[in-house]
Amino acid sequence: MLPFYAVSVVYSDERDKGCEKMDKDPLKLVRAAASGDSGAFGALYEMYFDRIYRYLYYRCLHRETAEDLCSKTFLNALDKLSTFKPEKGLFGSWLYRIASNSLVDHYRKSSKIEFHSGVWDLPSEEDHVIDVHNKLYWEKLKPVLDDLPAEKRDLIIMRVWDELSFREIAELTGRSEAACKMSFGRTLKLLKDSVPFSILMMFITFKTTVM
């Protein structure tokens, strides 16, 4: 196992710096990988695989689908590695963007769609497979998150589950950091006032007190 794999899962500038110290600056790796250095590409893969996999999984809740999309994402990234421009943002954001596009392609039913947060966007009655062990979460959370517009729902998932920084979210969604923060704050407020959420809160408290 490579040494940097143990570095905190939270992606941040600090992590980039930390990598630099270990001579594993993602930028250097990207450049080397683009010129055909398979070792560098392998290092990048180790660095980002778990985060990208989880990003995809949180949005499809199905192992095979997540694996399929993950393969597509990395293959796509390999294809386009030479077009990555560091002055336009972090490599991580770029990779997430590709993952997000794979997701859109997978769930797209009409050509007009520009954004998709996976199963969360599907109407409840639609036929889709969810891994059994996560079914309970899905059934409890779906009605809560259903009330939110797709972008806002995904913003919550990105910040809370994916642990993306606001900077990364901004680069990923093409909005400003301030707009993302603003929108996140507002969404929290919306959740606070939403009826299904209060039911969920009650359910959890009830469950814990019983246990």
Binding site: I98, Y137, L188, I204
Partner: protein, 693 residues
């Protein structure tokens, strides 16, 4: 996952959230508890890695092979092309010069361009977006797929040229990835006409502004010449009127999509200098330099009929929404602040230090002599409890009048009379002496202010200019504010003077006539001298359900980052007693937005003059436009002033403006106009019309 970290990030922008911290924490905690289990299968991870690495290796081999071959092919093609060229010209020598002169190319370059690397390297270019799709990086793969998706549609609309289609998708992609407010293009909106299609009259004004640009370049050269010859003033006097004037470039605010950037933040501005400076231009038969036009200063030159404040807040707030007078499909949002009024008698004692530039460049009639007359007007209104000192600077700085009580008018007037222009300017020393004089006579309960009157041509170097700025800021924090009065023409340093006044919590006015001196120093004495609220910031949070896009008119130099709104360390504009501040937003309503009840939330932050902590006011603006005769004169008149400003700037949004319509609307909305300022504006509009013809 650190919940506090998430929330701290939000408080910077919206401190009100802090009051709900406990509940928000609970929400995030619950969301985290429900996070699905998402551990990847290690076997899969390893398998995919191996597959990918094999792929990388394979590509490397292919590309390596290809690179060698590419070089050979390119070289061969180059040689072939060179042979063809040589043969052609050997047969027809006359062709050689005609082709080589406009387009000098080496044989290899020709090979690149004629044979075309694209054709040779499908592999290398595959990874790049299709031709025409120079896509912003993060959108790449999506755009590729979007382009593929579009293909059937394209086939259906075969009538449309394919190239045009590609162009459209390029625009879309750029638009989607637009990040900062200034960069959002107005695509899909009531798009501005390209410059080539600008009306003839605007074309002329553009041509004129090009002349100014040329003059600016001469000016840069001219400055060097002055230093060498040491005859600065005589040189300047012989040049055209705009010679040597300096203006900071203004990049006009664009429409911003509310869905991308719902929040707009700016600092208020009470300066009025731009208006009188433009008046000077127009009255001398010229259109102003486009960057001399700061639309917010034109609008704020006028007072509006806003209600007086009540309660604890030192200013009242008025908002009005109606159809945009220059584009009926859009709306215009008018925001007005009115500071509380103070009777001259109620003003606390004033400690004024005049700092007069009496260098050689100030001897023109419209400079020092005008200034002396203006000061005489002001001296008349002083009271026994007020103190006046005068520092003149030219060559060396000197105290012309030690602090003197306001009722000793003859002593003061005699001192003013003695000042004569001569020598070069030592601005730094003068400002230093003026501030020291002000500090020695500091009124704890009064106004302490240095009034700097100059044409802006200080002889301070780059480093001392920075020191100057620091000193002005330090003195501001001690309670001594700075007002800048601009005078004269031909050597006018607009940008520097505005910056100085801003650093000193002050205002900046341009005096071109005695009438203007009367307005600035007498009529608006209280607002010039008594600050009632400082660091006033405005933030509008547009409801994306009601607003598609918005555009702040003017205030380009006053835009702030959203997070600076709640940061009390970030300096912003001051508002004086009786002063009004007006801002306009042009709004493109959302298509479905007719039903949305709320247009925007509007937030104000200000500090009381002697406090360091800001106060917050929040209110909502309803999405109900005022119609017909209910539209106020305030609304229509300020809109007409803004239109005039856009026209003078050669704004992208002014392409279809008809100045006769502006005149019509402005005269209909003239109102009481006790001092005749609005009548004068109408005259300026007529003169502008003549100049544009």
């Amino acid at each position: 996952m650190n919940i506090n970290e998430i929330l701290e990030d939000l408080y910077g922008l919206d401190p009100a959230l802090r009051s709900e911290e406990a509940e928000l924490k609970e929400i995030i905690k619950k969301l985290l508890e429900k996070k699905p289990e998402a551990e990847a299968d290690e076997d899969f991870k390893e398998r995919l890695k191996n597959e990918l690495l094999a792929e990388v290796e394979q590509r490397r081999k292919r590309t390596g092979f290809f690179i060698i071959h590419r070089k050979m092919i390119v070289r061969a093609a180059g040689i072939a092309a060179a042979v063809i060229v040589v043969l052609t010209f050997a047969l027809q020598p006359g062709l050689l010069s005609s082709i080589l002169s406009p387009n000098r190319m080496t044989a290899t370059e020709m090979a690149d361009s004629t044979v075309g690397l694209e054709a040779l390297e499908p592999e290398m270019h595959e990874a790049e977006p299709a031709a025409g799709l120079t896509i912003e990086q993060p959108t790449e793969s999506r755009d590729d797929s979007a382009a593929q998706q579009k293909k059937p549609a394209e086939a259906a609309e075969a009538a449309e040229p394919a190239a045009q289609k590609v162009e459209t998708s390029k625009e879309e992609s750029v638009y989607r990835s637009a990040v900062t407010p200034g960069e959002v293009p107005a695509q899909g909106l009531s798009a501005p006409a390209p410059r080539e299609e600008v009306q003839p009259m605007l074309k002329r004004s553009l041509e004129k502004s090009m002349v100014y640009e040329a003059e600016d370049k001469t000016a840069a050269w001219g400055e060097g010449a002055e230093l060498l010859a040491g005859v600065a003033d005589t040189v300047a006097d012989e040049q055209p009127d705009t010679f040597n004037e300096e203006y900071r470039e203004i990049v006009e605010n664009d429409f911003i999509k509310a869905a991308l950037e719902p929040v707009s933040t700016f600092s208020i501005d009470v300066d009025t200098a731009s208006y009188s400076n433009i008046r000077r231009y127009i009255n001398s038969g010229m259109l102003p330099h486009p960057d001399a036009v700061r639309i917010e200063e034109l609008i704020n030159y006028f007072t509006y009929d806003y209600r007086q404040p009540d309660g604890d807040v030192p200013f009242s707030i008025t908002t009005e929404l109606s159809d945009c007078p220059w584009n009926s499909s859009n709306r215009l949002l008018h925001i007005g602040l009115q500071g509380f009024d103070v009777e001259p008698d109620e003003l606390p004692p004033t400690n004024l230090v005049f700092l007069l530039d009496s260098s050689g460049s100030m001897q023109d009639d419209n400079k020092l002599p005008l200034l002396k007359d203006s000061m005489s007007l002001l001296i008349d209104t002083l009271r026994p409890e007020d103190r006046v000192s005068i520092v003149a600077y030219a060559g060396s700085a000197g105290l012309v009048l030690p602090p003197t009580a306001g009722n000793r008018k003859r002593t003061i007037l005699a001192a003013i009379d003695r000042i004569e222009a001569g020598g070069s300017t030592a601005g730094g020393a003068g400002i230093d002496l003026a501030y020291r004089t002000a500090a020695e006579n500091y009124f704890t309960e009064g106004n302490n202010r240095v009034i700097l009157a100059t044409d802006g041509d200080f002889n301070v170097g780059q480093s001392s200019e920075e020191e100057l700025r620091t000193m002005i800021e330090q003195r501001r924090d001690q309670g001594i504010y700075l007002t800048v009065l601009g005078l004269g023409m031909g050597n006018y340093k607009d940008a520097r003077m505005e910056a100085l006044a801003d650093n000193g919590n002050g205002n900046y006015a341009y005096i071109d006539t005695l009438n203007e001196a009367n307005k600035v120093l007498i009529t608006e004495l209280s607002s010039t001298l008594l600050t009632i609220a400082k660091d006033v910031k405005i933030q509008i949070d547009f409801n994306e359900e009601a607003v598609d896009s918005y555009r702040l008119i003017g205030y380009e130099n006053r835009l702030m980052a959203a997070e600076d709104f709640s940061n009390d360390k970030k300096d912003a504009g001051e508002i004086g007693a009786g002063h009004s501040v007006t801002a306009l937003y042009e709004i493109i309503p959302a298509r479905t937005g007719m039903q949305a009840a709320e247009l925007a939330e509007i937030r104000f932050r200000y500090k009381n003059p002697d406090e360091d902590q800001s106060q917050l006011i929040v209110s909502t603006i309803e999405n109900i436009p005022v119609q017909g005769s209910k539209v106020t004169d305030n609304f229509m008149f300020s809109a007409a002033v803004a239109e005039w400003g856009m026209l003078l700037r050669g704004s992208d949004y002014a392409a279809n403006f008809d100045i006769r319509q502006i005149i019509k609307r402005a005269s209909a909305a003239r109102g009481p106009d006790p001092y005749g300022y609005r009548a004068e504006f109408l005259e300026l509009l007529e003169k502008t019309d003549d100049l544009l013809k």
